[in-house]
Amino acid sequence: MQWLNIILQGVLIGGLYAMFAAGLSLIFGVMRLVNIAHGDLIVLAAYISLMVTQSVGIDPLTSLLIVVPAMALLGYALQHGLLNRTLGDDLLPPLLVTFGLSIIIQNGLLEFFTADSRRLQAGSIEIETFRLAQGLFVGALPLIQFAVAILVIAGLQVVFYRTALGRAFRATSDDQSVAQLMGLDTRHVFAMAMALSLAVIAIAGVFLAIRTNFDPAIGPARLIFGFEAVIIGGLGNMWGTLAGGIILGVSQAIGAQIDPGWQLLAGHIVFLAILAVRPQGLFPRISG
């Protein structure tokens, strides 16, 4: 029963990892850009939520109403003003510019907020638990966060496959010049994709901040978890990414149970094993 609890915890945190991954793979799908600053933007969202909750006095989940639009706007501006200039055939510029961005965000946060560990307080909901079965408990917050992750992924699928914006995403990703011939302003399309990605990042960041302590340096690890979830799950498939996140979360949970120092290592090893044995991922839809 203890193992069942552990696996359940792993599954639930897998939802958070899937949210990390969703924003990453959305951008890659639309414009073949991998945002190295992705994890640091998650942390930025956490800090924005911290500022909002402290100054306005609302709880973190309500702060989403402010943080999500703020981050979406930031994403639009970032893509339109900076990252659109890096797109092209050469892979060096987007990689190096987003790497520079990552360093800038980390150190900017460090200057502004210091390296102190922070946490967002969500109130009484943090300690509520449900009993699923004899000896099997699940916290209200992890459950809500998992449900939100599923909603986010389902929402992204709806946007991609049932809206005009999603059509624009897919068309631009297929053939940029013909998309322009059809009247699509590709700069705007890319900026909307980044805005959407940052909106997802905002949600993930707030839930992360409620769940664990955070400081300016934890960004890269979140990028890595998101990336591992994408690769394990397979490119081009959002639900595969959810599966990837769950597998990662469960591996980490099992590893932690064996030895606390092995938590992260277990996840990396599973990732490398899948890379070795099935590099296209478990549920791929497109090739990288």
């Binding site: 460090l110 120092g261 990732f271 490398l272």
Partner: protein
């Protein structure tokens, strides 16, 4: 009758300048004080690391943000060999190279399954794995790290001054050897292939160049050099820990910024970049973490508006090369036009 020539007028001057600088540098222990020697040694190791990263990213098109894996590996190999197996520290540095290369082989086999930016993040994961594994080795200090015991330090040389001279000359020799190897590689037939890959990978491939085999070789060779430099770095520091050994900031961020600002895809770039980096470091020293922020911003600006870096701008405007690396076809009459 035509033949390929490497030199131009500016590169002939460049060779003289380089030779003169090497003599001055070799004599540094006699004209410089202790602080200067340490600074020069640090600069030399960064020139070496940046040149190796430049070879990997600028020529072979493999952008790694995980080279700290091999820096840390070299460092830990030094400590392991010297402390646990009684190997002389200098010998340990030399052994770290081949071991680093051996480790790089399965790593490359795994990493080459990823492309582009995903390859980059993958190399970061590898570095993280190395860091986590290192924290598990209690014989080498586990998570908090360990210092080099006095017995090992004395084994290098009896006095502190002698040790510092020795480490400095090691840094100089290693850096010159690595740069020399890179230049030799680039002047060879493989180097021509690498330059073709740098200029246009798809075309290179369709011209029959086995792109992936060359990338594999370059990755392994780069690991070889990086591990040796890593061993040297931690010999100088006398103390190692997982966080310092595998630090992304120290061994990757700085290296990338140096190469980008100096000029990717050109040999002279990392040298120029290192000089600029250290000048900036001296002038911005009081700013703390703002320093990294400024570096990041400068790197972004350079990447967007001067993607060939400072040396790229200079060499295009003035047509200079510091080292005889370009290939010119020379016929009976001078035809010019470099390849």
């Amino acid at each position: 009758m035509s033949r390929v020539e490497h030199a131009t007028r500016s590169s002939r001057i460049g060779v003289v300048v380089v030779a003169a600088s090497l003599i001055v540098l070799a004599l540094a222990p006699f004209w410089g004080d202790r602080q200067t020697l340490r600074l020069l040694a640090e600069m030399l190791t960064f020139v070496a690391l940046a040149s190796l990263w430049n070879l990997l990213a600028g020529y072979a098109g493999l952008v790694s943000v995980g080279q700290q894996a091999f820096v840390g590996l070299g460092g830990y190999l030094l400590f392991a060999l010297a402390m646990l197996l009684d190997v002389h520290p200098v010998a340990a540095i030399l052994i770290a190279g081949p071991i680093g290369a051996l480790v790089a082989i399965p790593v490359a086999a795994l990493m080459f399954r990823l492309r582009g930016a995903y390859f980059a993040i993958g190399t970061w994961v590898i570095a993280e794995v190395f860091r986590l594994l290192a924290s598990q080795i209690s014989a080498l200090g586990g998570g908090s790290g360990i210092s080099l015991p006095a017995s090992v330090v004395i084994a290098m040389a009896p006095t502190r001054q002698a040790r510092e001279f020795e480490i400095y000359w090691l840094a100089l020799a290693l850096t010159v050897a690595i740069l020399g190897a890179i230049v030799a590689l680039l002047r060879s037939r493989h180097g021509l292939a690498l330059t073709a890959i740098r200029d246009n990978e798809l075309t290179a491939q369709s011209n029959g160049i086995d792109v992936w085999r060359i990338k594999f070789i370059v990755y392994v060779l780069t690991a070889f050099g990086t591990a040796m430099i890593g061993a040297l770095i931690f010999l100088q520091k006398l103390r190692i820990s997982p966080d310092t050994a595998f630090s992304v900031n120290d061994w990757t961020a700085f290296v990338i910024f140096i190469t980008v600002i100096g000029g990717i895809g050109k040999i002279e770039g990392p040298i120029i970049g290192t000089i600029i980096f250290f000048v900036l470091r001296q002038t911005l020293a009081d700013l703390g973490s703002l320093y990294l922020l400024v570096m990041g911003a400068v790197a972004i600006v350079v990447m967007l508006w001067a993607p060939k870096g400072l040396w790229g701008v200079i060499s295009e405007r003035l047509g200079w090369q510091a080292l005889p690396l370009h290939r010119r076809l020379v016929t009976g009459k001078e035809t010019g036009g470099k390849l």
